[in-house]
Symmetry: C2
Subunit: 249 residues, 2 copies
């Protein structure tokens, strides 16, 4: 079981094989077993298999091929819509139109997503998360008819793998873990933590392709630029506001 977790690799090429209904049902149930704040279950999972809708999602997710290829796309949403409707039907006024509630619902959605990911992998399925969900939340809301008080926060692409990529490199665990308190990093420690990653042949290849001096510059100048981050910060905050989660007074 821990072996499933240790063997995780993101899959970006999928076979045409459908996911059996029983297996899909089981991994969705696995999602609902994750911890949830106060057992409120303030999240939803949208399961998309229809080709037309998947094509629209593909367009929203920066036209990444795997969104078309994989048989199932799962959009995880922070969701207070269902809970609020229940409160109103029970003659009480929900007070969940604020940032804390959005963040709480995000936690629910993300823990459920990771349970689904692990459960899927334990059945030999491959998965990949789509970070484009927060960038393109407005488009996804419109494609999936997502109502107020609901925000899509992440997406899982799921299917049988048509590739067997190497394990992704990770920083040494002691670069991520702190004992007792947080111990801040000095230059020597940073160099130590990133040394192996920077010396990988795949890293050297990336630097050559991207024509940068080093790996860090690929992140800051190519992949996750300040300009894009600011653009998507604004659009995501706008969506959170528009969906009804920024009444903090």
């Amino acid at each position: 079981m821990i072996q499933t977790i240790l063997n995780h690799r993101s899959i970006r090429k999928y076979s045409e094989k459908e996911i059996e209904k029983q297996i899909l049902d089981e991994i969705l149930v696995a999602g609902t077993k994750a911890s949830t704040t106060g057992n409120m279950q303030v999240y939803s999972i949208v399961v998309t298999k229809n080709k037309v809708i998947k094509d629209q999602l593909w367009e929203a997710h920066f036209k990444q091929d795997m969104v078309k290829q994989a048989p199932v796309i799962l959009t995880f949403c922070a969701d207070f819509n269902r809970f609020n409707k229940w409160c109103e039907l029970r003659d009480t006024t929900p007070g969940y139109d604020n940032f804390l509630s959005f963040y709480t619902a995000s936690i629910d959605a993300l823990l459920a997503a990771q349970n689904v990911a692990v459960a899927a992998e334990s059945h030999g399925l491959g998965i990949c998360y789509l970070g484009t969900t927060t960038y393109m939340a407005d488009k996804i809301i419109s494609i999936l008819d997502i109502p107020k008080n609901v925000v899509p926060v992440t997406t899982l692409v799921i299917g049988y793998p048509d590739e067997t990529p190497d394990l992704t490199d990770r920083l040494p665990t002691d670069g991520i873990v702190h004992f007792e308190k947080y111990h801040d990093y000095d230059a020597q420690k940073i160099n130590e933590i990133y040394k192996d990653k920077e010396e990988l042949p795949s890293t050297k290849e990336l630097i050559e392709i991207n024509k940068t001096d080093n790996l860090a510059q690929i992140f800051t100048e190519k992949r996750y630029t300040k300009k894009d981050n600011i653009h998507f910060s604004k659009s995501f905050l706008d969506i959170i506001t528009k969906q009804g989660f920024m009444n903090n007074k």
Copy 2:
């Protein structure tokens, strides 16, 4: 393996038995195997076992006994501090002082947390998430010496269980899952989804203890009130700003 996930229950009473070093190491490694945006690994895990520091965390987490009892407290943080320091050492300017970057780092931290939770349970350990982390982020930052560009987003209490609670009730899966697109709920559907939960003997007992008319009112009037949510929305947004993640221009 899926069985571990399906059998999850939060544990709130812990035995004094320590967690073996090898097992703790393995579940931390399991955390680092979770998907992470662009393989940036923008999160940290603070492992606290020291009694004095645990007592301070107990105070911050609303004095919940399990924080004192459990041998290990794991604080998961959204962390761009390490990544930013690396970028600066490599002569490039990180652009991660904005809301999107905070949210991206939160996703990394939460997926890692759920991997740790599942890995721990697969070893017979019990876990409980502490939602108080976002409420009391300022206190936790000060207790754990957390620097700028880092925000604690959730906490796991881990140890060997000293209770065997029943499985927590969950809404029917079709109350959480939508097919193809989001299908909004009408009154009849809401009543259907919540029916079993509302009829549980434990729910009836809760209503009697709380002197409310129904379960929804326990949430809105007692557990998660608008007043508290607004208070904690403001304080958490203040912390996100103070830690350097709200430069969205």
